[in-house]
Symmetry: C2
Subunit: 299 residues, 2 copies
């Protein structure tokens, strides 16, 4: 049943599990899923593109904060700028561990950086970063490190009447900048941690507050329900912050980063997720074994 | 240029304005609009179905609150239950006038009524109402009082690659119950005032708080931007609470309720909107003159 629609997948258990689920979901029978219910949701960092050595948006944000500290050195005394200046990785790891105090410090800094910005200005700032900054290990723009097999999977699902959403802890507006040209997904199908905006004098302007909480952990199914009115039937992730989203779906896949030569090999931040995968029978996608090609390589 | 795709519209200035805008937006030239930007947004109450003598959701909510007052008569002493018991229409009119105190009282009562409810339970409650309650003037279920010309317009826009959203001050989840079967619009394209939900023990459960503020006035473009990452290029409304949404679009239409025989005739709550329409050249749709048929009549 393999075919050229998933050419970057090897003919292994992961690809076969995806095809079996989709075939059953779209064929009359006990596992058939109504077209209206065919919602798929994918995490972004580590699921649709590389998240090492840091999630790409961290690179974008850290450069901005670096400029802010240069302009106002007193910032170096407070978090999160202090952690940035001191290369305190443990501080940022506490975000993924969902530590409230760390998250508050980060959100406050986000608010400070982009309060009052228009969508067009933010979009332009992200585009400069996309076009000029290169990921250190591969010396390529981050956008070239999108996983080709995942783009094929998105298209495969869409060709079977699934509506595909990206649901990331990262910034909604950051992802929406490149979603359409990179993933072929409209902005409205991009869900993420979101700034709140006000409509003032005919213009949308960003505020310093967050709309609807962080899109990690239980926040993922909450955000998906708020955006779509449903929980997903198909979900893909790679980390502990994806566990609740994966648990909320009928078919769940988790990317295992086990290819240090072509990408990275790590399980940090995914220990609980990989444990749940084994217990709940989620499909584990080995980058080393299940993908014949990893990156899109070009825009 | 008229055709059978808008059969319930008379060949008048409103229909011609719609066709001219869509033709220009979809033809190479100075008014062409990229497919990605083709977002249309319609208010619901008074724009897609009748909102007299009260918006249908008020009927649904008032019946629920009536049962709550019967079970606990002490509620009759506080708002909004007091206004309900005393038939105090002025109180509820202050919602549309965006009075903060009135809105707080209403939201608090919404929270009290549906806190802890699952989507499936809420859906079932709305369906009972849809199937059993009749609108007093026409003695028909409210769902039969959807405007046939507007359904044709939605389909006309979709056939030209517009993505159509409903954006109402009314409850998002209330509308999502019937959106797909009634409008042919997926739940994710329904934007409205929304309860916040939590994901607890594998289930989405409603809380007593609101996510993202009321979807009226400036809240409409704010909600549309949050959901879609864009402002609409085509917008339709009928009331003062739609003004900001209509101002945010390239093409704006406003429904004028001027047909007391077939529907209702009123301008209350639309004075400012009709004034802006005249100043800004919005297309005014006269129910009496522009629609040959008003209601869908059946499910």
């Amino acid at each position: 049943m393999t075919g050229s629609d998933l050419p970057s997948w090897t003919d292994g258990p992961a690809e076969r599990a995806v095809r079996a689920f989709v075939a059953a979901a779209t064929t009359a029978g006990p596992a058939f899923i109504d077209v209206a219910d065919r919602i798929a949701a994918f995490d972004n960092d580590g699921t649709l593109w590389s998240e090492q050595p840091v999630p790409p948006q961290f690179d974008f944000v850290f450069r901005r904060w670096g400029r802010e500290v240069a302009a106002d050195p007193s910032l170096a005394g407070i978090q999160p700028y202090k952690a940035l200046v001191e290369h305190d990785k443990a501080f940022f790891a506490r975000v993924l561990a969902q530590d409230p105090e760390t998250i508050t410090a980060l959100l406050s800094a986000f608010g400070r950086s982009w309060n009052g910005v228009t969508p067009a200005d933010f979009d332009a700032e992200v585009r400069v970063w996309l076009e000029t900054v290169k990921q250190p290990k591969f010396d390529k723009p981050y956008i070239d490190l999108v996983y080709r097999p995942m783009l094929e999977l998105i298209e495969f699902l869409r060709s079977h009447d699934f509506r595909v959403f990206v649901c990331s802890g990262g910034g909604r507006d950051f992802m929406r900048t490149f979603a359409e040209e990179t993933w072929g997904i409209y902005k409205e199908n991009v869900i993420g941690t979101a700034a709140d905006y006000r409509y003032v004098d005919g213009t949308i302007v960003r505020t310093d507050s967050v709309l609807g909480g962080l899109d990690i952990g239980p926040g993922k199914p909450e955000h998906i329900f708020a955006q779509t009115g449903r929980l997903p039937v198909f979900a893909g992730g790679n980390a502990d912050v994806d566990v609740e989203m994966l648990e909320s779906a009928k078919f769940s896949m988790i990317i295992r980063h086990d290819d240090d030569r072509r990408e990275f090999a790590y399980t940090s931040g995914a220990e609980r997720a990989l444990g749940r995968a084994a217990v709940l029978g989620w499909t584990v996608v080995s980058i080393a074994e299940d993908w014949s090609t990893v990156f899109t390589g070009g825009r």
